[in-house]
Point group: C2
Chain length 423, copies 2
Amino acid sequence: MRIEIICTGDEVLTGKIVNSNFSYMAQKLEDVGLAVIWGTTVGDDRETLLRAFQQASERADAVIVNGGLGPTVDDLSQEIAAQAAGVTCVLNEEWLTRMEDFFRRRSRVMPPNNRKQAMLPSCAEIIDNPIGTACGFALDIGRARFFFTPGVPRELKRMLEEQVIPRLLAKSGLQTTIHLKRFHSYGLGESHVDALLAGVEELVPDGSVKLGFRAHYPQLETKLTVRGRDIDDVRGKLGPVETEVRKRLGNFILAEDEHTLEGVVLAELAKRGATLAIAETFTSGQIAARVGPLPGAETILRRGVLARDLRDLWSAVGLAGVPPGGELTKETAETVAEALRRSSDASHALAVLIDVDEGPDRIEFGGSVCLAIAGPDRVASRRSRIVGGREWVRLGAVELGLDCLRRYLQALPVDERTDFEKR
Amino acid sequence: MRIEIICTGDEVLTGKIVNSNFSYMAQKLEDVGLAVIWGTTVGDDRETLLRAFQQASERADAVIVNGGLGPTVDDLSQEIAAQAAGVTCVLNEEWLTRMEDFFRRRSRVMPPNNRKQAMLPSCAEIIDNPIGTACGFALDIGRARFFFTPGVPRELKRMLEEQVIPRLLAKSGLQTTIHLKRFHSYGLGESHVDALLAGVEELVPDGSVKLGFRAHYPQLETKLTVRGRDIDDVRGKLGPVETEVRKRLGNFILAEDEHTLEGVVLAELAKRGATLAIAETFTSGQIAARVGPLPGAETILRRGVLARDLRDLWSAVGLAGVPPGGELTKETAETVAEALRRSSDASHALAVLIDVDEGPDRIEFGGSVCLAIAGPDRVASRRSRIVGGREWVRLGAVELGLDCLRRYLQALPVDERTDFEKR
């Protein structure tokens, strides 16, 4: 089935906002085995909208149109959809009532211009939007089925997943259950993981397991898309493959599915009633900023201390005198972590110290990271060198620090070699 | 002139990467007075690429194609461009030599498959790429001029600004100088600023000054695009308008052009040889993370202290006992700022304390912010309530904290009412 996406709106066309709705939709469709073959972006203009709808109707079997369902005069999707389908717009009493209820529940009176949102092409099938006033709908233009969705991301998300994708799957004839299994890792590059996982798809010989990746440095997401008759069939197929993926990627898997590195770290600490303190230099609070916002962090993240100069950090964690001169060492990081643990009264302390290169930012710009974790009964530390520009070093050091803390809490080695460091 | 943009590549089409190249190009063109009227996204597929080129050539006067100039087999732009133009690809000796030099300067031998990057349509005009091996080029397909650009953002940026835009301006017949003036503000919404600036465009009666906005919460960018015969003409037109904008937006302008809020704060501190310490709760290091990465921060950002619980923060800044119970107050923030200033030995201390609402995240979720700034000779503080969900509160509090520090350092009132707070 050939699927196209048309994104509408001057804000998207002029680049005032980055079109993340497009990438979200394309990914969601791919995750259920549907592929997008063409994307179009046009503004709030009658002539170009009509032309975009007509051209898509000649190329595609299904088209998702995003945006243009709002109450203002520049929202044109219903009007142009009707024109392209050769029908007129009529007031949909059912949706009008829904909108009036929507405002009433919020103790407001519906402004008159919202009435426009209930004017729908006469042949339209309504697609529910339980959390907004923009009415989704579907209709045929030429030989293609068009699905009109709201531009507000949370409304789009809900409508796409609950309403549009099931209709697309039914239309495509894919009478199957599809499940997406995700593994998040840090420290291995995409091509390395691809090589490590060579052959795992073939563990299910009928081709119903597909391997994919999404790299967002420093993390990599490994995706298994599994098709089956029903959920039991999917589970049966996925079982041996996910076991094999866990075996081959081993300690590098930091979380699965909806879980995150910082969430796993927080859960490990919560499980043992532990508390955390963090000392940072060049990362300037970015490690703490990953953990701090999570629900539950208020009882666990006891203290964060940062300074851009090691001497300032030294006194801030309660150490006397000055830090040792010369090259940064693991021992210095251990001293800082242990002092922070004492002065903050936290059960665990993470210290991530970085010596960055001199000179302007450049692709060869690097940093030497020395980090240590002090807990109730042992201290672990590692040294690493990351190269690739200031921001690259900073992002890498944040991830390395949090991942080593995860490894420490899960009793795994903290110094396994990663693909992102130089030695 | 009708301009289209075609973005190519499976990574963009499948949503694996968000298409920020498109929004970057559309904004850059708008900034010089050129408008994009159509955007197309297609994958690395011969048939769809050809169709996309042909359709664009029928609609547009100029087309920018992004991506597909790399050395691998799925990079198809040169091949399909030649096909669409009815010519063949030939080896460009000049670019081959350039690439060999490129690798030689990096002490590497050019891999054989890079040779493909010098195979260009026979009628192509070369467009220089001084920082990569992807050769830009231009040619006519039908009645439209096509410009082929690399997908790597920094290579695209340089080629677009230095090579493509001047050619587009020449083609469009806009024989004018265009200048973009930008003001960054915090605390006023887009419609509010639009109302405040009503009529400023008309200060130059010939219509050569255009007002625009780009909102990225919590900041707003106000843009003046000025056209003129030459730079003196532009300066003469811009002068009275920018004076008027500064007068009307007043203290809310936090920076202009390439400058940032955190950069302005750091420069104000550097100017007086001052140092800074920051205490945070719910923002969890995000305020320090804005200042810390800047060049020069290593001598100024002396200490950051954060804790998710106010009692933990209390002892971390060196205060004895426990913080006062009950509602959070400005006085508590002042006490923390003064204690932090003493314990860190910094000349200035910023304390941003937040009491967040109970319960799950929701649009009505809010936080009460009490912040204080202690300097060598005075303390300033303010209270504010921000509502709009956890992330909204956190982003708002980070900005409020930094902007109050800017106002303090610039001897402006720190408690001017913003559009983003409830009272």
